[in-house]
Symmetry: C2
Subunit: 463 residues, 2 copies
């Protein structure tokens, strides 16, 4: 009946899939990971690596009070209460263990400071020392190699195989698949004696699919995602009765540059330095228009309001803190100006209004209060915006799919009709929905992937 059989089949090789594979293997099971692309990792290979942790070790050092309950509250607030409470709690409560697993077990090196991510009540977000999530992915890949877990590339999910009772017992896959070529490769049947973990990510690159759920998100819209972020994995699950959740809720990243394609090199500059130490202005007025540390949904909605021309301005001392600044300048994604007049002239901003904006902001730093937009200023060191100025011309890009298939807190995929687990099927990461509701907070995707990936792996292993 099958061409080959493993205990656990993991579909997708990003943070969630590899975490699941590692746990299943450590439980003594045979595991196969399949990945449709030529390289492993999907969006995890491009990720900025932000990692939100409730009760982070560095919080104690800084005297920051935090708790899983506070992190969950932040997630509900951003998510407009659409979030599934049990999933939110599972991520918030599991974030510390997931972080320690990455740091101590996998050996990922994180920077020695916490980021105050937009929409978070307190600084609780770690960032890898090199400002890229690729080091987390690499650590997961190394661990898979150590454990002897095969990762079969260019092998695409075609559809689940179910037994007479509806339990998932394997998958039809396409071996030697060349994305996105329909008809490439050949079909093989892979058995999964204990179950399948679906971890195929989101569908930001699937124009036809995303237009069904949000017609405005047409082909012209830029995205930060890798080309393989398409909906087939999700659709395979829906085909066998998985429950769709929040498919129309997409996230636009409020920190991407219009001067480079996709994710780009400047995004982590804007996230880690620009939005922390700088201001976002509307170049058509020279004024601020939003709390730069609001959640991503609020910010991106303000940024695309009619007539807005959003730019980010940060001072020289702060800019130097970003390790990859030289690359950003070289590519033109970050522009440097010696004087305010020069910057205003080059970007056609009203110089008087801009000067007033920066003076006012610098004064608010002294007072520790942002009276205009309520941005939190008091909790961490801030640098004044002083020459040389660094500027990013922003444009929100499609970044993340909040929705997906429904799981319970055991990463079990729930059936549409009975709201009960579909036997043999687990899922984790962006392919699932319910954790974030209307808006995902920055830094929560990775703990989500690691927490639910590990749960999925353990439960698929039958522990």
């Amino acid at each position: 009946m099958f061409d080959e059989t493993f205990d656990v089949l993991v579909v997708g090789s990003g943070y969630a899939g590899l975490s699941a594979a590692i746990e299943a293997r450590r439980a003594g099971r045979s595991v196969l990971v399949i990945e449709k692309m030529k390289l492993p990792g999907g969006n995890s290979a491009l990720s900025g690596g932000l990692f939100a942790v409730a009760n982070a070790p560095l919080q104690a050092a800084d005297g920051i009070e935090d708790s899983p309950a506070l992190m969950a509250e932040d997630m509900f607030k951003a998510g407009h209460g659409l979030n599934h409470p049990d999933l939110v709690r599972t991520v918030a409560e599991g974030s510390l263990e997931a972080f320690l697993w990455c740091r101590d077990d996998l050996g990922v090196v994180f920077a020695d400071g916490l980021h105050h991510g937009g929409g978070h009540s307190v600084p609780r977000v770690y960032s890898p020392a090199n400002c890229s999530g690729s080091v987390i992915l690499q650590a997961l890949l190394v661990k898979c190699r150590e454990l002897g877990i095969p990762i079969r590339l260019q092998t695409a999910m075609k559809g689940f195989i179910q037994d007479a009772g509806g339990a998932v017992v394997g998958a039809e896959v396409i071996a030697d698949y060349i994305f996105p070529r329909e008809g490439s490769g050949s079909v093989r049947r892979i058995g999964a004696a204990r179950g399948v973990v679906l971890a195929t990510g989101g569908y930001c690159q699937d124009v036809a699919f995303r237009k069904v759920h949000a017609p405005a998100l047409g082909a012209a819209l830029e995205t930060t995602n890798h080309p393989g972020a398409t909906a087939e994995g999700l659709v395979s699950a829906l085909r066998i009765g998985a429950t769709p959740v929040h498919l129309s809720w997409f996230q636009m990243g409020p920190w991407t540059s219009r001067d480079e394609e996709g994710w780009g090199v400047s995004t982590m500059f804007s996230v880690l330095v620009g939005l922390r130490h700088g201001v976002m202005i509307d170049a058509s007025t020279g004024r601020r228009f939003v709390n730069e540390l609001a959640d991503r949904l609020s910010r991106s909605q303000e940024m695309v309001a009619a007539g807005r021309d959003p730019m980010l301005i940060v001072g020289g001392v702060a800019a130097q803190q970003y390790p990859n600044l030289a690359q950003c300048l070289k590519r033109g994604a970050v522009k440097r100006y010696g004087t305010l007049e020069e910057m205003a002239r080059d970007q056609a901003i009203d110089a008087a209004a801009l000067a007033e904006t920066l003076e006012h902001y610098n004064r608010s730093l002294d007072e520790g209060v942002d009276e205009e937009f309520g941005r939190p200023l008091g909790t961490q060191e801030r640098y004044r915006i002083e020459p040389p100025y660094h500027l990013v011309r922003l444009r929100p890009k499609l970044h993340y799919c909040n929705g997906g298939i429904q799981i319970d807190s055991g990463a079990r995929v729930l059936d549409l009709e009975r709201h009960r687990p579909i036997p043999g099927l687990h899922a984790a990461g962006e392919v699932t929905g319910g954790v974030h509701g209307a808006c995902r907070l920055g830094g929560v995707a990775i703990p989500e992937c690691i927490v639910f990936g590990r749960i999925a792996g353990r439960n698929a292993a039958g522990l």
Copy 2:
């Protein structure tokens, strides 16, 4: 293979289902309508009967300029652009013909005046003379009887029957079904030689299903819907690969009373008279807080904001215009007060603030401009708010499911994977998604049901 066979099987006996049945029968086909409840109509039997028409006959008389394009624009604006453009256009462009069909072909008597519905740019909404949509339902039922279309009650949809190629060729139904008793009745197989029309409505009463999509909408939440507004029909379609759209977008009605259950007798008083001639105030401040003619989403969001205690106040002359006022007063859903002081004391409203609010509003009527909230005041006659005062204590209730399964402008149900029609399956009405996006405008549901119901019936008949 089948216990009996018809050309067209219609599932559901509301506005959409009966419109489909009539068109299919008129095309010469044999038709069966099944309905799981003891009575036909579902929510259509409870509906207020509002009917939005672009280029309505009465608009010309009043010198109101309108067009399908303007109605479509209003729908997109309320829908936050999530609406499917082809479906919006189909409803807006078809609204006039659908109205004339109801009025001239079915003989429904509408009141001789247009309602300016919330979120509509101009007055374009008809209302049946008795302020109830039940007359539209009755007219449809009479027409079905004339045409000899059987409506089989207590017959529930169990699942679609497909041929080897995936085409829908019939349905398994449960005859002698007693809602909501699982296990009641007996299964029969009904063939549909030309196809099935799914018109099973929304899922506002399906607590388990709605909580998946919006966890805050738990069992405690009141709804205007009939008990049978559950998700089985929708789920049957998803089971065979229909595409889910906007399932997390629900509508709260901003005009229901907390002093009566469900839809109640006062709702059409509030819709037709209260919101047109009165003001909505926050009883905790005595002040207005919203444009009373904003779309339903905007209004209901403002009404449930923390600490708000929404009430509607309208003057005596206006209140008398509502034909069923006596019933509202008798049930206590509308309260009458001779003086402002009496009303303020009884409802614990700050009398001075309330007096100021009413004076200010009455003055704005003279000026024809609502400077505070931008409510349109100029287009139709308005009555001042003067004694005796009539007051409704409002509480938004769950009213409508904006989401459902995806159809194209031919009412063909589209497949999840290929975005192509599932052969033999059409759908219309609240079971479908995409027409309304984030917010349905008042009065658009009935034209939607009639327009797409008739299209579904004609296309299922194979014309």
